[in-house]
Amino acid sequence: MNLHSNTTHNQTNHEGINLLNDDQLLLNKIISVSAHLLPAQGPITTFVHHNPLHLFENKLFHQGLIEAGQIFGTQMYLSEERYHQELSKGRILFSDVEEILKNLLGSSANEIIIEQSSRFDICLSMLRNLPVTASENESRWFIANSKLLDKLVRPDATDDKKNLNLLLESCLLGIAKTEIKQDQTKPERFRDLILDVTGQDTDLLVNELLVRFCGAFLDQGFAIWELPYRKEGFISAFRNFCLSNPSLLGSWAKTLPNILKQTSDTNFNPLDLIQDSLLVLGIDKKDWEPFITQSLLAIRGWAGMIHQIVTRPDKVPHPVASDCLTEFLAIRLLLDRLAIKKVFKEYSFTYATKDTLKHELKKLKESHVKKADLISPGLEAFSLAMDLGWDNKIKSFSSLDWTKIALEIESFSNMERRRVFHLAYEKFLYRQAIDSILTRPALPTKEPPTYQAVFCIDEREESFRRHLEEVDPSFETLGAAGFFNTPMYFKGEHEFFYTPLCPIIITPAHWVEEIPEEEFIKAYRSQATVIRTMQMASHRLHIGSRGSFWGVLLSAGVGALTSIPMALTILFPRLSAKIKNYFTPSNSNTHATRLKLERFNETPGPEGNHIGFSLSEMATMGERFLRDTGLTKNFCQLIFIFGHGSTSVNNPHQSAYDCGACGGSPGGANARALSQILNDKRVRVILFNNGISIPDETFFLGGLSNTSKNLISFFDKQLLPQSHSLAFEKAKTSLQAACKRNAHERCRRFYSAPLDISLNDAHRHVEGRTADLAQPRPELGHATNAFCIVGRRQRTKGIFLDRRAFLVSYDPTQDNANNDILNRILNAAMPVCSGINLEFFFSQIDPSGWGCGTKLPHNPTSYLGVMDGAASDLRTGLPWQVVEIHEAVRLLFLIETTAEIMLKILDRCPPLANLCYNGWINLAILDPDSAKAQILKGKTFVPYSLSENKVPTFTSSFDWYQGKRGHLSYPHISDNQGSNSITEKASL
């Protein structure tokens, strides 16, 4: 086989660089476009939520879903069965379904189709009744059988039954006679054709080899040996791998070494190999794009990871050469064609040569006809006839009538029906929340707060804030993106590497280090030595136990002792975690540390005096934070700033639980840095000159809130002035009480926690989950997120939002004429929150197509991601255990501003306009001065009208959620009168 069959078209210039011909340029273009369809998930240790369909954001939501569904072959809405279940659970109202249908059909709704049934009637009837599905053979058998029965029991058969059979038969026949064109798309890849015809999956052969090789090629440190020639690129490494031991390859790949030998030419271009494969397989130029896209998507996880590493080489210790994706595709197509040949040979016992293969495949493709599915429209028609009372007149239907009916059924397809349900599903949810926000009675005027506490906007902090306000009304809470405007590379004590702590779209320009206080250097050093020695020893033991010599000694000698910690951790997870913590040196607080925050050199850098921020940078960051959150006056004596993080064990997806605004890491360091900045007297002077006057007695205290254990910790407590310690102790008590209540509220979602669990048990329960090796749901992450409310806390305070709302503090009265603050906030919050939301959305809709399936068989691979079991595609997206309780709805942004301002901002930022106008998020505005809302429909805002349902009021969150597992509505929580009841009731 000559790889360079078309080198004649190639022109080689003097430097020996291949100039690409037109075909190759086209191929390059196709590959770079297709690459963007691949999953955009990088190494799993920094899990960043993103919209898996980000490439489709410039299309309308529904249209984007239809197109994506065709490309990816995944589900795009929940199944009709699921929607009907939600309907019966009351999470969808049929009245909403009707209304949405009417709006969608518009003026054509009342068009009479047949027998006084309008289009609206027909569509509604299809929505009301779950479609009956049956295969062709099943229905034939049924009809034949019932005819037989009729014959046998004719004298006794009731007319009804006879009529039904006749009706069914005439519906099936009537529809079958019509010539409705059905979608006749043929699969792009021959693998699908061959699988259809022979039942042999060529991908099984190819993927087994390719997955194993990709794992070795991309490995970032799990394997002991490195793949030889890895740095020279995919093809080169693959060639050397195959040629060195050709006899070990499967028999299907016998000719592989010969073909690969030709790739060692210095002028070799992977595009030649691709072209060659396209030629052998006989792919026409017009089919190149879909064919290549589908070939890349065949193992999209691995291909996507190659693309990720190529585009972001800084994220991994071992980057790969820049055209690896093309090389990967070349090898993929080469293997595909060998596997196809093999299957052909086995099934026809004729050896398909280069030329015959093409023709054979062409014949196969042409002869392949997807059987038109005439049964399900027939069954639909039957159910329509029953529902709409056509039964008596059905005999008189002409073939034109049948065509009309078939057309109606065809045009209101499964995808359209699910869309209607989806919209109704959202409508129900949104209405409850907006109603509750608009009807909340005005808060009683109170004394100014004693404390302020700033949390991340994360919806998991919503309940913490609510409980804190319930426990101690002297707290005012605020929400800001959890990196608190201090983007930085951070290196903790006992750490060697910097971690970026900021949203993924920002690249930090500054470095910050945690160092021990001068007087504790000695303690620090000895601790560091202990930690290093222990870590080294444990790693040596681990590696040793895997080898042969040390393995024998270790397993025969002391192996049996491991059963003790194993039994302890499994039977008593919480206790063993305590024991372990006791013996972990880095957890013992032998000494105080501080952040090296101030830079004494001009240029920022990771070493020495380059570390840190300059004074003016600190002031700028601090000021922006204060202005964004609207915290520019009425400073309390003590202001807490809480970053958040999550603890879990045995959890490859741990990073997905940490702070998204910190790039999937815990955000404690940011909170600590910000409070240190705002406590700085010199910063305060600059702020004062800029119009923000922070009183001298105000002290900022950084902290970390653990969302899985529901614990809080504080940084730099030793710096707290003596005068504040009493207030601090009091605040701490309230915070801890709020933590407990928060844990209690979370427990209602865990089936293994009894509904009548007490406060203390609840706290112990959530803590136990985080230490449990066997726990696939240490916490539920961002599950159930549905709203993002940008505005003053005053608007949402006292509403039970069920941990479903991102809460961003924004004070419209403090924004400038240009609305720069809102613009800034939305530019960060909209992409991040909608990314989280849409990742959950799709992972819930198709858990194995968009998500990574169930966690249970996950197998960490190549230090990059997880596979299902032994050799599967790299699984991207969220595991089922995380999205299980999520409701697949788009995020509703509720923004406290006016319609004009909002439209102006969308005009200014095309990416946001794409998201909002195309419906990837829903947008509504809350009028800053009145209890009115408007919803974005198309490109204009229309007033929202309150529903008649009255929003109930409870005295505490506990009174409402106690004893309930499912999704709840959002009642008002009246001011603190009954707030202490929980302690009495739940601590029993």
């Binding site: 440190g221 028999s251 210790p317 016992f349 060697f496 194993m566 045995n650 169930t854 032994a870």
Partner: protein, 451 residues
């Protein structure tokens, strides 16, 4: 019957019948489509394994207290046909008691693990049905006193293992790999069946006690020692399949498709050691022929060597652990071939505990490596730069390792393919004959490809 014997009988029946009763109950409920609540399932599993474990432990205590060495327990009347006996007898001695205690303790702990790990999984009940079959199987196999009893336990372990590999049957790979395992296990069963035939032929009955008590020297004097050596070879064959020795190692990494706890207990701990245990149990037969013993040593060391090499190139944690397990199993088998008794047993117990723990913690790898790298200040902690130098030899070694020694493709090429080709050829011939007989000219084969 003395009081001692009564209590021994009682504890033995506790140990053996508690899991069997559980398995029967679960299978029955499963067949009748009775959906049991999660908590109930977990509770009865834990209870039954606990009862069984306490029976075995009490028996061990009685052994210690009364300075017993062995005890035979025969729950069913035997079937005699002239000189042939078919017996279902259990044989308790230190070896079987230790292995059963190990198996049951691990099963007990894993039952708790799985209760939480499998929570909410649609296949929760199915998992525990298979789990209970496995527990019964491993108890029967480890305590078996006759080859018939062993065979029953052996089958139950094999069946439940394969079905658990195929646990996530909505995907194709688990079912294929489950089938792969099932085929290898069938070879093992066939070999064991042959061995049982030869044992009966040689000894007239399948009692292990004859072999164990007469020992190597006693057996040499048997008239039919040549047949016994044949049985020994078949037993080794059966054990090789079960313990994934060379050249059957290919199935072990494929078996990692099930949920993590099943991978841990089956392929880190019990199933994989069952072959070695069998060799240890019937060691006198192996030692009967020095040649056979050397073959066992050689194959054990070869397995250890190969999997030691292969493990270096694996990039996913479960395959890495699978080959690490295999290295140790190879060493254990070699120790058995050398005729050791205590060492392999200790090795099995220690290794099973260690590896189970490592398997269970496999999902922690990312966190583990990250914290390790951060505190030690270097990446590539595993990489050993001296072992691999870019020379031709290291490249050959590497591709040997990444191809997993080509064992599967070897089996495919020399065993599976010839079989399939013969069948396919027969299929074609049959069709051609049918054409002639029918007098039809043009026909498309059943798979639709027009010839």
């Amino acid at each position: 019957m003395s009081r001692l014997e009564t209590s021994l009988d009682f504890f033995a029946s506790m140990g053996i019948f508690s899991p069997i009763a559980l398995a029967c109950f679960f299978v029955l409920a499963f067949i009748l489509h009775i959906k049991l609540p999660e908590k109930f399932i977990a509770l009865v599993v834990q209870l039954s394994v606990f009862i069984s474990l306490s029976g075995i432990v009490s028996l061990g205590t009685l052994f210690l207290y009364n300075k017993l060495n062995k005890f035979e327990y025969e729950p069913f009347p035997t079937f005699h046909l002239e000189s042939f006996h078919f017996d279902f007898q259990f044989y308790f001695d230190w070896l079987s008691l230790s292995f059963a205690t190990l198996a049951l303790s691990l099963c007990f702990v894993i039952a708790f693990f799985s209760q939480r790990y499998m929570h909410g999984e649609p296949g929760y009940q199915r998992f525990f049905v298979l789990y209970s079959i496995f527990v019964s199987g491993i108890v029967i196999a480890s305590l078996a006193g006759t080859i018939e009893a062993l065979f029953v336990g052996w089958e139950m372990v094999g069946l439940s293992s394969s079905l658990l590999v195929a646990f996530f049957h909505e995907r194709i790979m688990p079912t294929r790999n489950g089938l792969h395992l099932w085929v290898i296990y069938r070879i093992s069963d066939a070999a064991l069946f042959g061995a049982s035939y030869l044992l009966h032929h040689a000894l007239g009955e399948g009692f292990f006690k004859i072999i164990i008590e007469q020992g190597k020297d006693g057996l040499v004097n048997e008239a039919s020692s040549a047949i016994l050596i044949g049985a020994g070879a078949l037993i080794f064959m059966a054990a090789s399949c079960k313990s994934a020795l060379f050249p059957f190692s290919g199935w072990l990494p494929r078996a990692m498709e099930g949920p993590t706890p099943s991978s841990a207990i089956f392929y880190g701990a019990l199933s994989i050691h069952l072959g070695a245990f069998l060799l240890l149990r019937l060691n006198p037969i192996i030692q009967l022929s020095p040649t056979l013993a050397w073959v066992v040593v050689f194959m054990g060391l070869l397995t250890a060597l190969f999997s030691g090499i292969i493990a270096n190139a694996q990039t996913d944690i479960k395959s890495i652990l699978a080959y690490a397990t295999l290295t140790q199993v190879g060493m254990i088998v070699a120790e058995i071939g050398f005729g050791f008794e205590i060492l392999p047993l200790m090795h099995i117990i220690g290794h099973a505990s260690l590896r189970t723990y490592q398997f269970l913690r496999a999902p922690s790898s990312f966190q583990y490596y990250k914290s390790l790298e951060d505190s030690l200040g270097k990446t590539d902690l595993n990489k050993n730069s001296t072992t691999i130098i870019p020379s031709y030899f290291s490249l050959v070694l590497y591709s040997f390792a990444l191809n997993r020694g080509g064992m599967d493709s070897m089996l495919e090429r020399f065993i599976a393919r010839p079989f399939l080709m013969v069948f396919k050829f027969a299929d074609i011939i049959e069709k051609k004959w049918l054409l002639i007989l029918n007098g039809t000219q043009k026909v498309t084969s059943s798979d639709g490809v027009t010839k």
